[in-house]
């Protein structure tokens, strides 16, 4: 058996782009010829250009018992990678093994060894009770009936759902529904769990409970691949983190070592009122500024600005002078320790939630 829980080699996934008829009409005088037997080199090149690459040659090894965080903005390729690992998607090229099983040639063994919670997925039946849901998925995972009853009772107890086990799931809170979805992923006691944005949409208490559960599952020896765009969550839970952007892993290390990469940098966070677009280009040319990202703050009409500089003391006078002009005001400012988000900004020049 492979030494790795998950092993990914040069994994690529390309999707055909939907053809924009107007663009084809106006801009492309030689549209692709459709047909089964069109092998000309020109048409292959054109077909290549019509593809969108969601995952662009990912290499990855995840140790047994490790919590591996995959961090990246929306559209970075996290979910596509997860979907390939859990056999929902066929890779365009490359290979991956889950608990030693090839995701293409041994798909059924991969499925048996994986428990998956997909992002934004309803994944459970709202017109069934929690118990019926878990019994149903036990059957899909071929667990013998007597063992299934026992396992379902154990999971309901563990997730504190026993008292409501026979109520329809549609009457549950979002947090309870997520606990049923996680129980579903655990029903066959798989050694490896893929959790794609598991705390998305949960209230803070439910999210905290879920993080505690993930820590417990790790302690029990489960390998967990966790995707998230909440950097605090990845920082808290992960043994190692891979930062993914535009389908490629651009950095991979422990959270501490990733942050060490930019520890020599100062991170200046400011809240600015009266922001206007030209101000961004004015700030970027202040000598000593490496990276800058802005984020509009919800409901307050203000913009949060993150600046990376080698020496904040040296750049601050110039920055403040540019901001406090023509009615724009600096409302708040801090020099902070770099977070994983700052690592991401440093690597890509954009914010994680862009």
């Amino acid at each position: 058996m492979s030494d790795w829980a998950i092993e990914v080699e040069d994994l690529v996934k390309k999707f055909p782009k939907k053809e924009n008829k107007e663009a084809a009409k106006d801009g492309d005088p030689t549209p692709i010829k459709r047909g089964l037997f069109n092998f000309s080199k020109k048409s292959q090149v054109q077909a290549e250009q019509k593809c969108f690459t969601a995952v662009a040659g990912v290499n990855l090894q995840i140790e047994r018992g490790e919590v591996f965080g995959l961090l990246g903005p929306n559209g970075a390729g996290k979910s596509t990678l997860i979907r390939m690992l859990c056999t929902l998607l066929e890779p365009t090229s490359g290979t991956a093994r889950v608990n030693g099983f090839d995701i293409f040639k041994q798909a059924n063994q991969v499925r048996q060894n994986l428990g998956t919670v997909l992002a934004g997925e309803r994944s459970i039946y709202w017109k069934l009770t929690a118990r019926e849901n878990l019994e149903y998925f036990s059957a899909l995972y071929h667990i013998p009936p007597a063992a299934a009853h026992k396992r379902v009772d154990e999971l309901l107890e563990r997730m504190e759902l026993t008292a409501r086990a026979d109520d329809l799931v549609e009457k549950y809170s979002t947090g309870m529904k997520q606990r049923v979805a996680i129980s579903k992923a655990l029903v066959a006691n798989p050694p490896i769990l893929l959790l794609d944005e598991p705390t998305l949409g949960l209230d803070p208490q439910a999210a905290r409970n879920l993080r505690e559960l993930i820590a417990e599952l790790k302690a029990e020896g489960h390998t967990i691949l966790l995707t998230t765009h909440y950097m605090e969550e990845a920082d808290l839970l992960s043994d190692r983190i891979g930062i993914i952007d535009q389908g490629q892993i651009i950095a991979l290390n422990t959270p501490a070592r990733l942050k060490d990469r930019i520890n020599q940098r100062d991170v200046i966070r400011m809240e600015v009122a009266g922001w206007y677009e030209e101000l961004a280009s004015k700030l970027q040319v202040v000598p000593g500024i490496d990276k800058m990202v802005t984020r509009r703050m919800e409901g307050e009409g203000m913009v949060e600005v993150s600046l990376h500089a080698e020496n904040s003391r040296a750049v601050l006078p110039g920055v403040i002078e540019k901001i406090n002009y023509n009615g724009t005001r600096l409302v708040n400012m801090n020099i902070v320790k770099p977070s994983l988000e700052d690592v991401f900004i440093n690597l890509t020049g954009k914010a994680l939630r862009d």
């Binding site: 018992g65 066929e90 048996q112 997909l118 459970i124 899909l140 071929h142 006691n189 798989p190 029990e220």
Partner: protein, 294 residues
Amino acid sequence: METSPSTILRPTVHATIPQFWGDLRAMGWVAKKEWLYFVRYPSWIISLVVWPMIFPLAYILSARALSGPDGSGLALFTARTGIADYLGFIAVGTTIWMWQNVVLWDVGFSLRREQMRGTLETNWLSPSWRMTFLIGPSLVQLFNMLMFLAVSVLEFGMVFGVRFNGSVWLTLLVVAASIPPIYGIGMAFASLVITAKEAHNFVFMVRGLVMIFCGISYPVSILPEWMQGIAQWLPQTYMMRAVRNAALGNASFQDLTPDLVALASFGAFWLAAGTVLFYWMERRARQTGAIGQY
């Protein structure tokens, strides 16, 4: 946080039952889940009790109007069809049309319903045989449809006075022979729907073809020759003729044999087509990610 794999108690996958029995049990649970969904939406009572009675009425009333004030036109109808009971003739035709129509909606949209509910991917993550997710709903639909047929027979008898004087066993044999083509078409349809995402127009086209070419309220023999040529490629033509002859016309097994052979052939073809299309769809979905797309 450092972890040493050798010191960790690794969870091991739960013991499982052999693949065949596991798939069979999974299929049972898929059917149970479908059944629970069916009964937890109470509108099913309407479809089971009210529809069988209402749907043939329009055709029956038209027939009464066209047969003349003294019903003398009915003699011509009997001469053309060989069946004296025009009410029974229409009831059989509309019921078979309804059967195919409901299968197109129920079985044909079963995977699409899961997809829209958001549960199709989660089923696809399991190691169960993929056809389980199509056969399970078909079994529940078949059970519901057999109830529908039983209710229809009772209501036709009580409300319209239809008397099914033929052989019960031969009628049941024809109904059994009709199951593979009807559900094979439904299965083929399910795969197309999951690929195309929308198939209302296909449903309207298929049921329109059945309505016009198979003779739900008239014998196929009155159609122009080219239309009869199309009718012979539709299994519902043979179903309607065979059920009418078995239930209303006192046909023998020998009389029904050609239609039974045709139904068996259509059944084999459509089940094979349904299976091939399903696996084509499954492979394509893995390449394009279509399973998770709404």
